[in-house]
Symmetry: C2
C-alpha cells in the first residue's frame, strides 16, 4: 500500500488548475486543448533489473516495450498517441550500436502507430533507464477516466489474460479495441492491466468510490496462467473496463452481427456498492478479499 498512499499524498499536494481536466491518478493526465479535443500526457519509466534484464531481452525489444507501455496508457483513456520524447540513461556496457538497436525498436513501433519522436535526453547512468513521455489526443466524448464506474456496471476485459512474464516485451497495446469501444459505446471507466487485475480494478474502485466482485471462473486465462497471477502479476496490458449492462447488451448484440469488429470481450465481474468492498468469487461462491498489492515497482 506504500506506493498508493505515497501517490495519494502527492496528488493531494498537486495544485488544481482549471486547464487540468484530470491530473495524477489516471493512466494519463488530461489537459484542455480546444473545443473538440483534450490533450493526453503520460510517462512510463523502464529500469534495468526492475522491469527487464539484459539477459532476457534484446535492445530492440526493450525500446519497443518502452513505447508500447505508453501507447497502452493513451489507449486506456480512449485516445490516440501522437508524439513521444525519450529520456535514456546509458550505462558503460551499453554501446552505441546497442543504443541504435533500442532506437530501432522505438522507431518501428512508432511507425506502426503513427507516432512521431520529437525530443528527449541522453545521459550516462549506472544501469539502463528509459523514460518515455507520450502526448496523445482524445475527442471529448471519447474520454474515459477511472473515476466514473457505477454500482451495477459490469466489468470486462479485452481478451484472455496473457502471462505477463512471457509476453511483456511483445504485447500489442489495445488501441484498436479502445478506439472501437469508445467510438460507439459509453465506457464508464477503463485502465490497462499493468499491475494485475486486483490492484487495477482496485484503482477504478478507489477513484470511482465503488466496490466490485470478480468471478474467478469468468476470468479468461491464457494457457498455464494461474488465477493468482492474473490477479496479482500484471504486465499483460489488456484493458479492463466497465459499462452499464444496457450498453454491454448493445455491444454484444453488435459483435454478434456479420462483418462486426472481430474481437471477443469477456465479462469478468460487476461493480458493487463501496460498502461491499472488493472481492473475488471462487468456486462454490466463496468470496475472497482482493488486495491492492500487485507486482509493485516500488
Amino acid at each position: 500500500m506504500k506506493e498508493i498512499k505515497f501517490i495519494e499524498n502527492i496528488r493531494a499536494r498537486a495544485a488544481a488548475e482549471k486547464d487540468v481536466i484530470a491530473g495524477i491518478g489516471d493512466d494519463a493526465a488530461v489537459l484542455k486543448h480546444d473545443s473538440k479535443q483534450h490533450l493526453l500526457w503520460a510517462a512510463d519509466m523502464l529500469v534495468e533489473d526492475v522491469h527487464f534484464s539484459l539477459k532476457d531481452a534484446s535492445f530492440n525489444k526493450i525500446g519497443r516495450k518502452a513505447v508500447a507501455v505508453n501507447i497502452s496508457d493513451i489507449a486506456a483513456m480512449g485516445g490516440v498517441p501522437k508524439y513521444i520524447t525519450v529520456s535514456i540513461g546509458v550505462p558503460p556496457y551499453v554501446k552505441i550500436r546497442n543504443l541504435n538497436n533500442i532506437y530501432d525498436g522505438i522507431f518501428k513501433i512508432c511507425k506502426a502507430y503513427g507516432i512521431c519522436l520529437v525530443g528527449g535526453d541522453t545521459n550516462r547512468s549506472g544501469k539502463l533507464v528509459i523514460d518515455v513521455s507520450i502526448i496523445g489526443s482524445v475527442e471529448k466524448k471519447r474520454l474515459v477516466l477511472r473515476s466514473a464506474a457505477k454500482e451495477g456496471d459490469i466489468i470486462l476485459v479485452t481478451g484472455p489474460i496473457p502471462d505477463g512474464r512471457k509476453t511483456h516485451f511483445d504485447f500489442t497495446p489495445r488501441l484498436k479495441e479502445a478506439r472501437f469501444l469508445t467510438g460507439k459505446y459509453k465506457i464508464s471507466s477503463m485502465i490497462d492491466i499493468s499491475d494485475g487485475i486486483a490492484p487495477d480494478i482496485g484503482r477504478i474502485c478507489c477513484q470511482s468510490g465503488v466496490g466490485c466482485v470478480i468471478s474467478e471462473e469468468a476470468v479468461p486465462l491464457s494457457e498455464g496462467l494461474s488465477i493468482k497471477d492474473a490477479f496479482y502479476y500484471g504486465e499483460n496490458f489488456e484493458l479492463l473496463f466497465t459499462m452499464s449492462p444496457k450498453e454491454a447488451r448493445r455491444l454484444f448484440l453488435d459483435l454478434s452481427k456479420k462483418n462486426s469488429f472481430k474481437k471477443v470481450f469477456f465479462v469478468i465481474g460487476e461493480i458493487t456498492n463501496k460498502n461491499k468492498g472488493m472481492y473475488s468469487r471462487g468456486k462454490e461462491g466463496v468470496l475472497k478479499k482482493l488486495k491492492m498489492e500487485g507486482y509493485r515497482h516500488i
Copy 2:
C-alpha cells in the same frame, strides 16, 4: 562528438510531421497548438552519481533542480512553463520521507513558477533517477529556435557565468530575462548553457549554419571561474542568445533608461560565416578553435 553524432542520427530517422514545428535538436520540441500559441515540450533526466551525489545535495535540492533544468529549457525557447510530469526511480536507501523531501523541492519551485504537477511514474531502481517532462506554451511571435542565427549577429549572455560546480543546485532559470527579451526584441537564436559556452554556441552554429568568434576577455566570469570552465564546464544555466547589431543597440538603449528592466546583458562575441569555423579570441588576438566537447553526460 559521440553524443552529437548519435543525436544527429536519431534526428535524421525521426519522421517529419506537419504539426511538429521543431523536433529533436532544440531545448524543447515545438508542436502546433492553436492560431496564437505553440506547445513546448521538453524532458530532462537527472541521474545519481552522474548529475548529483547524495553526499553533496539534500533531497529537496535534487527535486528543485530536476524541475529547474526543465524550466530553463522552456525559457530558452521564449515560452512559459505550465505542466510537469515526474518519473522517478527510487533505490532502496531512499526512504519515503526522502521522497517526500524531493517532492517538497519539486512543489516549491512549481509554485514559484506557476507550474502544475499532473502525473508521473514511480519505480524501484538501483540508483536515484528523476526524469521531469515539461509542457509550456509560447506565443508564435516569441518563439526562438537555435537555427536562425545570422552572420553579423552578436552573441550575448544573460549574466556573469557562475561556477556550475557550486551553483547547479541553486541556479535561477532565466525565465524573466527570456520573456523580457522575446517580448520586445527580435532574438535570432537562444540556448541555455547546460554544457558550456563552447558546445552550446556550437549547437547554435551547427543548426544555423554559421561560425562564431567569442572574445575571451568579454566573457563575464564569476569570481574564481576560469575561462576554460566557462567554455567547457556548463551547468550554469545562463542563457546565450544572438541578435542583430541593430536590435542589440535598441536593447541597450532601452536598458540605459530609467525604470527599465533591471538586468545587465553581456556581449561576448559575434556570429561569422560558416566557413570561418568556431573560434575564441584570446589575449593579443590569438584565435583558438572551440571544441564541441563539454561536460558531457554520455
